[in-house]
């Protein structure tokens, strides 16, 4: 069984990434389940989804300290999810801050140097600098598929199934950019 927590902020495309991941796992003949909370996803709240695949998946939720991977699209959201990370789990995190409204309103502070803290305290962590990558690819909106590319090296899912899943679920005119993003992410963790 492979357990993956996907985390981020509304508007970052976390849920589309989940669907592509599930589809790729499905093409690879795994049983697969996901659970997501998206009540207010469009309003800038935290987004969390659980994706599990293997021979037979019961619970749609991943137990505490049982995630093989956490893929976080945002720094602070990564820290929020760390209880899920299993003993040999790997964290992929986009090294970027999305400032919450609580900070904008002056009611809270965004801690400095969360990236350094993660680097020092999480045994297996990949901090990904995606801003430059997205400039190179020429699209801001492919963060989600780029993150999947980074994850993909560690999963037992053939590359062609990833590409088919992207073609199936991404709008046709964005497919090429997203395949570039996928390959870029893949090269970051190869």
């Amino acid at each position: 069984m492979t357990n993956i927590i996907m985390a981020g902020v509304g508007g970052q495309g976390v849920l589309l990434a989940c669907r592509v991941l599930m589809e790729a796992a499905f093409y690879s003949n795994y049983d697969v389940k996901e659970s997501e909370i998206h009540g207010m996803a469009q309003r800038g709240g935290s987004v969390e989804a659980h994706v599990r695949f293997g021979s037979d998946v019961a619970s749609p939720l991943i137990p505490n300290a049982a995630a093989d991977f956490i893929v976080s699209f945002e720094l602070c959201e990564a820290v929020r999810k760390l209880d899920y990370l299993g003993k040999h789990g790997v964290l992929f995190v986009n090294n970027e801050k999305v400032i919450p409204s609580s900070v904008q309103a002056g009611l809270a502070e965004y801690p400095e140097a969360l990236d350094t803290w993660l680097d020092n305290n999480v045994p297996n962590v990949h901090l990904l600098d995606t801003l430059q990558a997205r400039k190179d690819i020429g699209s801001k909106r492919c963060l989600n598929i780029l993150m999947l590319g980074a994850l993909s090296n560690r999963l037992d899912i053939p590359e062609e199934n990833w590409l088919s899943a992207i073609r199936e679920l991404v709008k046709p005119k964005y497919v090429d950019t997203n395949i570039d993003a996928f390959n870029y992410g893949r090269s970051c963790t190869a």
Partner: protein, 517 residues
């Protein structure tokens, strides 16, 4: 058989389609909304529609069922409160074609004002309830619910919680049936619930409950999975999956039909194990029923919380199963909360800026605009259920007349149409003087931008008559009806202040489409 990944709600829609359903009606509400959206997208032969509220949706579905169709009504758990009146009496009349009602519950209150447990409605209204534990079961159970409804002449409730409705999994696609309409036959003793008929029907439905209890004892919807007999776990819905996750070796009675409960099956199961433990979300519904049967229960709500949703970890702890330890040190930093907020440029924003500056009591309602209760606005002071703002505001004025001058009611367009018009009639009828602000962003934004009767577009995207909100306010008898554009109006504060002070009821319709629409 084709298989695809589907969201639980899409699976409910698929099951409805496969069952040969003719008509589906609902009102949006998380986590139920995607059912009708999927039906309208994928099953154009089913006549699907948004109704103004859940009561109307259920009445439309019931009418279709009487006309001999298979009909579906969808709503979130609190929607069943709105539809409860027809539900309880449709239980007496019975149906003709199959009638299935989806109750999408929200344990954990991910996007709801409460976390009521709607299994109680099945017992209270004396209506059977099925509870799938996965998206594919949701598809199959909906089909069985239609069959059960027709076979026993009962409306049937199907409960899907957030963790099934908004969960994705592999779902099979089976053949889509087409069904002939049955005939409507006049039968006043069955369909006209005057007391003399109702008393007879009450007897009939009690007999049906006995018959259905027998069905519950023999249906494959309820099944025992024998394993270790030291402990027998009785469970339902998604809790079953958590039990399988953490105690795959245990003996389990999986209940797919929770009302009526299968007494003999439970008795036999209890006899085969050393003790029963009931694992269920929220209320001790199954637990109390089993105890009432005189069957001992070793553990239930003493180890399983009655607030919030269950998780594999909570179930593991209750069953004394080992749990993995956290091994990453706690981060010493305080993380900033990330609540949802009004979007940049939201047309609701200027009103709340004005209300905050005026320092009025804001008697609020439910929708995106409820986010104004949070920082930075902090400009909403009550919110209970849909439509409540208008009546509550009037009640405050009745108790303390000066409250009409330091308070306003604020309600969204979809919510106004849902249940804000009747209390407005009350204000005029009983000579109130309050001010109601209607935030008309021409959509049901909070639940993902559904159409409603005032948008002029149907669920399937067809153009239709658009309810004229200012006109309907005038028709209630309100003389002072103003329509403003929140981005153009230069003196919003002045307008609100004047209307609040005027000793006459007034309406301010704030008209500007949602940015995201």
């Amino acid at each position: 058989m084709n298989k695809r990944i589907m969201m639980g709600n899409e699976a409910v829609a698929r099951g409805t389609y496969e069952a040969g359903c003719h008509v589906a009606a609902g009102y949006p509400g998380t986590p139920s909304t995607e059912i009708l959206e999927a039906l309208s997208r994928n099953a154009p032969d089913v006549k699907s529609q948004w109704s103004p509220n859940e009561k109307v949706a259920l009445e439309v579905a019931f009418g279709s069922a009487l006309a001999g169709a298979r009909a579906l009504a969808t709503m979130k758990h609190v929607g069943v409160n709105v539809a409860a009146d027809p539900l309880f009496t449709f239980s007496y009349t019975g149906v003709n074609g199959g009638l299935v009602i989806i109750s999408a519950d929200d344990p954990g209150q991910w996007s709801s004002q409460n976390e009521q447990d709607n299994r109680n409605y099945a017992r209270h209204a004396k209506v059977p309830m099925l509870e799938p534990s996965s998206p594919d079961e949701a598809r199959r159970f909906v089909k069985q619910a239609f069959q059960l409804s027709e076979d026993y002449d009962r409306p049937v409730l199907v409960k899907v919680p957030t963790r099934i409705a908004h969960s994705r999994a592999i779902v099979a696609e089976e053949e889509v049936c087409t069904r002939e309409l049955k005939r409507f036959q006049r039968d006043p003793q069955k369909y006209v619930m005057i007391p003399i008929h109702g008393r007879q029907r009450h007897i009939v439905i009690e007999e049906k409950q006995t018959e259905l209890a027998n069905v519950s004892d023999h249906t494959a919807l309820n099944r025992v999975e024998w394993g270790d007999t030291k402990q027998g776990i009785v469970t339902d819905s998604v809790a079953y999956q958590y039990v399988k996750e953490v105690a795959p070796e245990a003996s389990v009675l999986k209940l797919g039909m929770v009302w009526p409960l299968p007494r003999e099956t439970i008795q036999d199961f209890a006899a085969g194990v050393d003790g029963l433990i009931v694992v269920e979300e929220l209320d001790p519904f199954i637990e109390n029923e089993i105890r009432a049967m005189g069957i001992p229960v070793a553990h239930g709500k003493d180890v399983i919380p009655n607030c919030g949703e269950l998780t594999p970890d909570i179930v593991a702890q209750a069953l004394n199963k080992p749990r993995a330890e956290n091994h990453i040190p706690a981060c010493p930093e305080t993380l900033p909360p990330r609540p949802p907020r009004l979007c940049k440029g939201c047309p609701h924003a200027p009103i709340f800026t004005a209300l905050k500056e005026l320092d009025l009591n804001v008697i609020g309602d439910i929708g995106c605009y409820t986010l104004a209760a949070l920082a930075p606005y902090n400009a909403m002071h009550t919110q209970a259920c849909m439509g409540a703002s208008v009546g509550m505001h009037f009640g405050m004025e009745k108790a303390s007349p000066q409250m009409a001058e330091n308070s306003v009611a604020v309600i969204g367009d979809s919510t106004f149409v849902h249940s804000g018009i009747t209390p407005l009639i009350d204000i005029v009828y009983n000579q109130g003087t309050g001010t109601v602000i209607i935030l008309d962003n021409r959509t049901t934004a909070m639940t993902g931008h559904q159409e409603h009767p005032a948008t002029g577009v149907t669920l399937s995207g067809e153009a239709t008559h658009a309810l004229d909100i200012p006109k309907i306010c005038e028709a209630t008898g309100v003389q002072r009806v103003f329509t403003v554009d929140p981005f153009e109006e230069e003196d919003l504060k002045g307008l609100i202040q004047t209307e609040v002070e005027t000793r006459e009821p007034s309406i301010i319709v704030v008209n500007r489409p949602c940015l995201l629409k």
